[in-house]
Symmetry: D2
Subunit: 425 residues, 4 copies
């Protein structure tokens, strides 16, 4: 073709959808560079490379982003106890900023004016990718074929995709797709759509890919000790092997393997997407589930109560929502992230855990930090302060409460009916 409309960096997965998009973009007059991030998903990257090139890609870029994913995204999330709607550990959300950053870098390097992705028009990922693109490069141009009527009307339904693939000589590896969608990286795998769209359908046993079920996990549990330094895991000791792991990536994969074996990290929820629809998702987050439990436990021992209260309200809640909504490269997320370190200075110590058939059981914790003090806490001895001082504490706390009670009584709600004063109408 004489003149290209420009160069597009496409987030390529190797699957039918993005292969079709790749070929279609070329049809539309673009030059396309295929980009693939290695964030720990199970994938034959060489197969993907040759497929992309076969589809007509000018180039295929594979970026190993595993370490930055762990150290720059996952560990801050551990420090923050990040969780969405009490259940979801944000595995897809955490990978998106890393991949988007890799794409913006690659787009600059390869002279692409456009970035494109294969996300659907109803999900969170389109938002996460695009807001990250715009945050990193406000003038980048985005192509989202699944929101373009020219594309989505033409490729409505799997058969249209298959037919087009055949016409373009694109090899289709899976003749029959699974009745759900997945997104996998080293932190988690998600399952949604298809048969899962009925929230009352129990996921089939063979859906779960990363972890054993609690039922099939070994009868013999495992013991591990995780040491945190300023809230980040810096050592894992495994009882059965006697080995200690200290490299950030090694720590993560060690825990991941143990958790997969012992059936840890599954969940199944109906969550609220950013665009305002509810969505059913199933997830496996093996290492992340252990790390969250261990980190929360150590904070119990080492974090001041009121620091924790403030942090919970602001960092945990906000950072989780920002991640889920795709707001990582925003001023507010930068601000919230700047509030993490101040909360983690004392989160140093070691947590002992037993992993057994889906359970992460805390068995003990120890720290050189001195906020816990047996002398103060002990019920068995005096120490730290005089018991009668607590009387003053209670009496002063009661001033306001008594005053309210007296006021209620004076309004005819007192005496035997004061109890009624606390009944809800």
């Amino acid at each position: 073709m004489a003149s290209s409309k420009g160069k597009v960096l496409l987030a390529y997965s190797g699957g039918l959808d993005t292969s079709t998009i790749l070929a279609w973009l070329i049809d539309e007059g673009y030059d396309v560079v295929a980009f693939m991030a290695d964030v720990g998903q199970e994938e034959d990257f060489e197969v993907a490379r040759s497929k992309a090139l076969k589809c007509g890609a000018k180039d295929f870029i594979l970026e190993d982003q595993k370490r930055e994913f762990i150290t720059e995204l996952i560990y801050p999330a551990v420090q923050a106890n990040a969780i969405y709607e009490d259940v979801y550990l944000l595995g897809t959300s955490l990978a998106r900023p890393v991949i988007a950053r890799g794409m913006i870098d690659a787009a600059a390097k390869h002279g692409c004016q456009y970035v494109a992705h294969g996300c659907t028009g109803k999900g969170n990922d389109q938002v996460r990718f695009e807001l990250a693109f715009y945050g990193l490069k406000p003038d980048i141009k985005v192509i989202a074929p699944w929101r373009d009527p020219a594309f989505y009307n033409r490729f409505a339904g799997r058969s249209a995709l298959l037919e087009y693939a055949e016409s373009k000589g694109i090899p289709v590896t899976q003749t029959k797709s699974k009745p759900w969608s997945t997104d996998e990286n080293l932190f988690h795998i998600s399952y949604e759509a298809g048969i899962l769209e009925d929230p009352n359908t129990t996921p089939p046993a063979d859906m779960w890919k990363l972890t054993n079920s609690p039922e099939t996990a070994p009868d013999q549990g495992e013991k591990v000790q995780i040491t945190f330094t300023k809230g980040v895991p810096t050592s894992v000791k495994v009882a059965s092997t006697g080995k200690e792991h200290t490299d950030a990536v090694d720590i993560f994969f060690t825990l991941n393997n143990l958790a997969r074996l012992h059936g840890i990290g599954r969940c199944d929820i109906v969550e609220n997407r950013f665009i305002g629809v509810k969505s059913r998702g199933c997830y496996e987050t093996p290492a992340g589930t252990i790390l969250r439990a261990a980190h929360i436990d150590l904070e119990g021992l080492t974090l001041d109560r009121e620091v924790r209260r403030v942090r919970d309200q602001i960092v945990t809640t906000k950072f989780s929502e920002q991640l889920y909504y795709g707001m990582f490269f925003t001023p507010e997320c930068k601000y919230v992230r700047s509030c993490i370190p101040g909360s983690q200075a004392t989160v140093n110590g070691t947590v002992s855990l037993k992993l057994y058939k889906g359970n992460t059981i805390v068995e003990g914790r120890v720290s050189q930090e001195q906020l816990y003090d047996e002398k103060f806490s002990s019920m068995d001895e005096l120490g730290g302060f005089k018991p009668e001082e607590t009387t003053g504490f209670i009496e002063v706390n009661a001033i306001r409460i008594k005053r309210y009670g007296v006021g209620q009584a004076e309004k005819g709600k007192g005496g035997s009916s004061l109890k009624a004063a606390y009944a809800l109408e």
Copy 2:
């Protein structure tokens, strides 16, 4: 003695401490009425009665408060997803307002000017009892012997208590006390103090009283369906028995028995007491653990996202803290409780669960509420809205983010270094 100093209603447990306090109060010139609340703890109340009377109590009052405990305290906590510091389900905290209310009623009925309790001067329970007393009856007089030097200096150490008991002919049932303290009711049991004061000591296997361990739980799990109406459980169907339970108390005990059998509800944490010391506690909360998981799951399906956000921030966080700090009978707790019903109107439906060796596994949920809609959520079909509308949604959300990026760029932080704009200094 010719004239009494007045009449005291004593929160009596039947143990060595409160028996000693009972006798000592009589020594000090008070008439004493012993009060015992049946909140579902395992206890021989008749033994306690005869012991109290033997110690010199003028009367022994046993109040069955199980139903009100479940319906007035536990179920609101379920509606609110109440939890303290991410782990503790507030079993002791929830019982205290019920018992304190029983005591204030009994004190009025029996003409007691004083209420007394056997809580130590370092714990939360003294605060919870006394603030509840003052909230309900601002002019009540409280006697807390463990904060009175005349008492605690005299009875420093177990041998002094035993010696005094012997001198008074008080029967001592346990010659050797367990190396920890417990508080039990139908919702939970707590373990603290003694050997548990070293936070790195793993609790001995024989400490846990209510539940099987995951290891000793049956190899065959159980399936249950819990139906909630406005956030309150109103039916439980048990697969193995085929029975449906609909009475509030029956529901609770049914779940409790299943959870105990299947090893559900243990936890072990270092928590922050109201008085500002850290404390290690182990807990078993069988039914409560299942109910919390099920209720959160159903809210995923039935509660609007933004209602949930507001509720989480205010009701869940505040109500949990108020319960823990003993602030139930306060204006602020009444206010927060008044904010629960507005959040639960749509929380109607049924959750299917599998209980297996410590795991509470959600397998599905269904509701007549219509906030979830497959047509909107489906990735496989158009429906509900046009994909290209999402483009506008993303673009408008990006306005602010792009503007920030442009501003950063103009400050020399743009271009290839825009990524650096999001690095923390």
Copy 3:
């Protein structure tokens, strides 16, 4: 025309824009009914009526919504101390739900399938109107010409509008428009756009329409007493007239007139619109400014501290944002509104104020509620509690703080360098 595309209810203002839209909608094949809400703006409604009919409207509907605006929107905002970004009292935001509700009712009554408005595509009001329409009638169809390229491309610039008006015989009253836009209702007037878009331009003195400037206000101030019942103003006594006003609308207009005279209620801010751009706005909110000051003052006397803390965090912040973002008819706003009454039960009493040249000066307040108690508060006498009890209160509050200090000292940050422990790095 033989067959209409359908019937449109148009929010009609009588100005050039909505007159053009009216005529253009007819050109496009719609039947149009013009709707005007009387929310207290200064307007000759008969002139508007004849103009609408002249433009081709099938009907002209004028709805007097002043009372519902005051009692259903403004007074809840007073109860909640609603304010946006510390400055803006939400005058436009508060009127939109009332008008939108009036329109949905009128659309049903007059068989309109469509509603239309003349808001621009960059502002908040388009969002407020449309989200309210959809909340009240999810299947209503909305026409927003200023977001329709067919319209906005044709009518880019005032001259195109004037030319079209001339061609349609639409009378143009103002030959030269003011260099800013306004929105007026009984609660406020806003000024934005035009010369105000430079945020460093001081608004010209003759812009301000409702209030005297502090400089031109009378040298003699006025005294008023406002009585609140459950947080709602139920009486206003004016010193200079000796009159008492008790009707909700009369109260409001009385305060409005006094505030206008005494130069109260102007502000000038750069605010953050919902769509993510910053915008400069100038506002006059005469009565609202007085009511907010008086209500906050009375809450100081009558509202429990902790109830206030919870309310501030949830109701004040959230309700204000919901109003600004046009989220009144949403589940979350209904929820937040349901949390207002529980906070206002004790907000009963009377505040005395002096109004003088822009100042609203609180001079005293009185209430039958009993949360304030001179005996407790007095520095001059013992009463309520023993001073030495405060020692216990302080000591117990210090436990945690001392423990942190000791921990810092043990990390080599103690002694003379403990001060440094509180320095920020």
Copy 4:
């Protein structure tokens, strides 16, 4: 006396109370060093020195803490928009940490094992002093005579104090005390107690010391321009003098003088003390009132909306409460303070103000920060984004809201009664 009980550093004010305490401590067997902080209060320090020495003090220490008060306490409070209960600008609260730190330093230098203060047992200041002492030096011993029955029973009432002073030869300067108490520093003066304890008593005109009343302020206003750098004022230009002030202390005093002249900074509230009683206080905070208004205004122009939301929720609210409750030297306040700088990086620019008879009127603002952009904001031109994109934004925001409406309709609350769905029961 042969041997002293130890050495006490006493916070000395020069008044009757602390002079009596000084002499009484010596009677009790202590050596006493009198400490006075110059935090900008109006005081003849030489008179105080000779009085202290005459009372028997071993030494008199005067510490000039004005600059640190302004730069380390007041300016962070300005950055945080700190305010207590919507009204009080925390003048006393802000001075206490500085004075306490001066005392702990002086105690170390002069070998004092004790620190003492003359605060009453019902107020906030005792808590603020003592928690600061303990935070800085956990093992310091505190003497609080007004909470010691031996002292407060002996000196109940002013006549006992006067009699004792006479017996000790302590000169009493004021024969008749004012019918209220004050606390003055460069930031503010407070008035409380005495006749002010009736919250309905209007403060007498001659009470106010620092500021003109709006009525007596000049008829001619003043214009000033305040420049902030990272949220801290770094320049003030005064129109009438043409002078620019750039030193931190000079800036503050310049604004203080202007505000005093123009009647700015008075308030009168009933507030909630930390110990749980309500208290009426009147305050004058001249420069602080101007700085808060100017800082908030500049944030409107320069701070991202969502950064502001997070900051408001956490820093503004928490820091204000921590200051009021005396929690400056605590881990949680250190944490919250660490969250200030991240929010102020862009708060750079200049605000133009007019000061006139109690009013601080914003007239304009300008900044090199680029978050405000006329092109985006302008109503008069297209620019920045396409109007039709807003349709998508609104439609997607409406998904959730429509879905709720449909759900309501299906529950029989729809159609003409959907309006009722938003009515509160």
